[in-house]
Every structure is written in C-alpha cells, then in structure tokens.
Amino acid sequence: MNIADYKDIYVFCEVKDGKIHDSSLELLGEASRLVNNRPSLGYKVVGLIIGNYDEHLIDDIGYFGADKVIYLKNEGINHYSTEIFTSLFMDVINNDKPDIILVPATVLGRDLAPRVAARCDTGLTADATKLDFDPENLESPLLYVTRPAFGGNLFGTIINETKRPQMTTIRPGVMEKLKKHTGRQFIKDIRNVDISTIKDSVKVLEVLQKDHMAVDITKADIIVSGGRGIGDNFHILEECAKMMGAEVGASRGAVDKGYIKKDHQVGQTGKTVRPKVYIACGISGAVQHLAGMEKSDYIIAINKDPEAAIFGVANIGFVGDALEILPLITEEIKRYRERPF
C-alpha cells in the first residue's frame, strides 16, 4: 500500500425518511472545516451515497459542503443491506483511494463501517467526538481522532499511521453542519452499479414502528432537563417545559429510576443535544451527561448542591430547589404571556 496514493475526505451519507440525515450533514460540515484548516493538502470533501434516490437529495450533499458527490445508483436498492453496501463501498475505496472516511455513528453506520474497515484491513475508530490533523506536523494528513472510553471516564486520541483509508465513525450531534448554500458548485459523479453478483443473505421482512411516538429532543431550541433530583415529579418539569415551548430532557439517573422514558435521555449513552438553551434541573453533571449537552449555546443549571459539577459548564447557575423554582417559572411566564401589553 502506498499511503501517498490516498487523498480526500469521504463522508458516507445516510438517508432517513427521504432526507440526508443530519448526522451526515454534520460530517460534511466537519470535513469542510478539516480541509480548510489544512489547505496545503489540497483535499476535497467527497460525499458518498448509495441507493436509489431523487436528484434533489444528491444536491443537498453538495449544498451542505461536498465538493463532489459520488452516487452509486441502482434501482434495486430500496433498503440498507450490510453486504451490498460493503461491497459497493469497497469498489469505491479500491478505485478512488480515499485517505479519510467519516461515517455517522448511527445504528446503520455502526453496522457498515466496521464491516468495510475489516474488508479493506484498515483501522477504524468508533464514536469520535473530535477530529484534527496532526498538530505537530503541519503538512501531515494524519488524523488525530479523539473519543471517550471507559464509559466517558477517559478520553483517548487515536491515530492510524500504517493503513489507509483512515476510518472513523462520529457521534450524531457532535459536529456542526454548514448553512445550506444552494449556490455551491460541486461535481456530480453518478455511477450505475451492478449488484447482481453480490450475495445478500439477509433480508428485512418487516419494519415496525415503536408503540409510542418517539420524541426527538435533538431538534429542540430549548430543553428543560431533569435528573434524579426531580424524583417522580417530572410532571412539574413537563408543565414548565410546555409553557416555554421546550422539550423535556433527562439524565440517565432519572431514566434508570423510571421517572421518564429513555427517548429523553441526554448524554454519552443517550442523545447529544445542542439547543439554544439547556436548563438542567436536579442533575449533578456527571461527565457522561455533560458529553451530551455541553455544546448547548446557553446553559442554565438549578441544583441544591453549590458544589455540583453541572455548575462548571453552566453559563448561569442557581443554588436552590428545582421543585420550588420550576412552578414559579411556569407562573412567571404565564403572567408575562397574559400581560395586557
């Protein structure tokens, strides 16, 4: 393997509900940031999409930061298949020689990326939270990939010096997508691919919806989040959130106690959120919780304990009883809304 033959940053783009999933758009944003930070490499951002989609979907990949989109098209692909996607991905790796491949750490990405990495015998770093080029050598395309380990107690920076491509999956919600820019110029490389020789022994028989409507707190502008300190009084927090037009978040402490459903959990093993305002109530601020919310634009914390770690990441903190303060906030907003003028 001649490492110098490999170039550019490839982003695997996942389609969900007829759209490029945000987690992929975020990676396009991050890839753009990386190539701009090291212009001497002359790398491009290449989006890779596999399946059978409308052209406008392909355009979005360009509008969100790709310089080139490789679209592997086959009308027979109507669903993700580990084997078909791995085989087609391998053809691109052999043919186009990407130096870096970023894959969202979604359920699909975490099924596909390890399979691809093993097939081309390269390294793969999982669930990265930070990417940078080698800070010690400003000409180097070596990727420094930072990720949490040991349940978020420790962070490691991982490199792959010997094999190409350098592959990593990245947690959804961690990187920032660019603003959609419909004037962006990019190359469209549409390849009609043959899948008739790929042996696929897995089939999806049925797609089930979950019985309750899963909430998606990652899209909210404001999140009011509760921890173990709220106890079984989440209704108080929910009322306040409703008055604000906010979504409800929670710590794992609260989820494990059964105070609220897992869909609401924020953190390392829950969702990564970056709302405009995050209000943490009765949450101590364990590293695993912080990992999911510390990038919020503005953080307000309410906790009884003046020493709580959550105050360390908050923009403003209130030492006090959340169960007393929350209803007062609800009342205050109500009063404000009902003001004559």
Binding site: R115, A117, A126, S201, V202, K276, I299
Partner: protein, 262 residues
C-alpha cells in the same frame, strides 16, 4: 445446533474513579464484570438451548483472570468454555481482535455466533461485525429478540434509533445483542459446583494458524497516541437567591435570549 457466544470481561465502568491529580484511571479495586451486552447474548443462547437443544460454547480473548468469568458462564449453563490468551494477543484493537477470534472460530463447527453489541470499556461495537467479515458470514447487529430459528435461517428483531425491523438471515451468521434483549439467569448451586469440574480450554498463539503481524498491539492499525481526562472549567456565575428571585431571573434570561416571545 452449535452456538458460539463471544464474551469479554470488562472493568465495571460505573465504579470507575479518576485520579484528579494525575488525570488517569484508578484501576485498582475496580471490580470486573461480564460485559452486559454479551451476557444478554449468553442468555439468548441458553434459551435456544432450553427450547431446541443446543451446544453452547463461550469464547473469550483476554488475560488469565478471564477464567473467573468463564467459570460463571459454566455455572449459568455453558457446555464449553474457551480462553484465547497469549501475550502476543494483548493490546489488540478491534481489527486485530477479530483476526484472532476468527482464526480460532475457523477451527470449530457452528451454526450461530452471538456477540454482544459493544463492550462498556471501549464502546466500539466493532468486534462483532469485524469477526463476521473475517469469517465471511452475514451479520445482524443491535438484535433485541430472536423470533424464530430453523436449520437454515434465523429471524430476529433489530432495534434502530426510532423503530424496529424484523430481519431474516441465513445460517450460519453473526448476531450482536443488546443488554436489554434478555435478562441473564442466575447461576444455580449445582451449576456452580459443576463449574469447577469442567475444563476451560486454553488456546495460545502456537495453537492457532495465524499471521503474527495481524494480531495484538503490534498488529493493530489504530494506536492510542495519548489519553486524558476532561478538565471542567468553572466559568459560571453561581447565584444563591430565593426561589422567586431565581425564577424571575431565569425568565429574564430567556426573554433576553428572545425565547419567550409574544
């Protein structure tokens, strides 16, 4: 039916403490446990054994201490336990681990391989799929339930972000299980006493036909450049006010940020 279950002994990360001075993990005294996702896989294998009859073989790669875990797995109902242990295997990343596991698995008969989705020390979720790749087997990850199994195929329920899929795969294949999929049974008293009479098969480098350049720390393409803990900076105003004033101040802040409109 021969079922292989892949398991790992891991430090209980919920018990882990950080030395704030040195920024390193305090490992001493941290209890080890069987990785929760793997244990659910073990339980699913035992349920298949209960219903259809099966031979359940537990396989782990790890240091000699992992024997304790294997004894417990015997107590739960494993038929065979295998420990892949050698200094040459240690320090492996997921690729090198999968190469080692696959090299051993190629020497035995199996219909189904069950691995946990991910281990709580690394959280990578890569060893299952990478082992499947090295054995050239189909895979289904994030399995929450086994719905049906016959000689040629298995039907499982896979959990995705917001829904489930019912998936069929031909056998043999690799499935990776979630810790929520099955609550592991307790060890029985008889099982515990039997466990000490059963042999743990020990496999070292010399027992495997494997290229030494694709295993262990040396064979791993990914290397840890550095580790660190996160410093939390105190940058906030922490106010001690009465409830009413706190509430008012929070609402003012939201108004300032333009959040409570009209």
């Amino acid at each position: 039916m021969n079922i292989l279950v892949l398991l790992k002994q891991v430090p209980d990360t919920t018990e882990m403490q950080i030395d704030k001075e040195t920024g390193t993990l305090i490992r001493a005294g941290v209890p080890t446990i069987t990785n929760p996702d793997d244990l659910a896989g073990m339980e699913m294998a035992l349920r298949l054994k209960d219903s259809y009859g099966a031979n359940v073989t537990c396989i782990t790669m790890g240091p000699p201490q992992a024997r304790n875990m294997l004894r417990e797995l015997y107590s739960m109902g494993a038929d065979n336990c295998v420990l892949l242990s050698d200094m040459k295997f240690s320090g492996a990343d997921t690729w090198a681990t999968s190469n080692t596991l696959a090299a051993y698995i190629k020497t035995v008969d199996y219909d189904l391989i069950i691995a946990g989705r991910q281990a709580i020390d690394g959280d990578t979720a890569q060893v299952g799929p990478q082992t499947a790749e090295k054995l050239n087997l189909p895979q289904v990850t994030y399995v929450d339930d086994i719905i049906d199994i016959s000689k040629e195929r298995i039907i499982v329920k896979k959990a995705l972000e917001n829904n489930y899929e019912i998936i069929e795969s031909s056998l043999p294949c690799v499935i990776t299980t979630l810790s929520t999929a099955a609550k592991p049974r307790y060890m029985t008293v008889k099982g515990i006493s039997d466990a000490f009479t059963k042999e743990i098969k020990q496999v070292s480098f010399d027992d495997l036909e494997i290229d030494p350049t694709i295993i262990g720390l040396k064979g791993s393409p990914t290397k840890v450049k550095k580790t660190f803990t996160k410093e939390v900076h105190k940058n906030s105003d922490v106010l001690h006010l009465d409830g009413k004033t706190s509430a008012r101040k929070i609402v003012e802040t939201l108004l300032d940020l333009n959040f409570i409109g009209k």
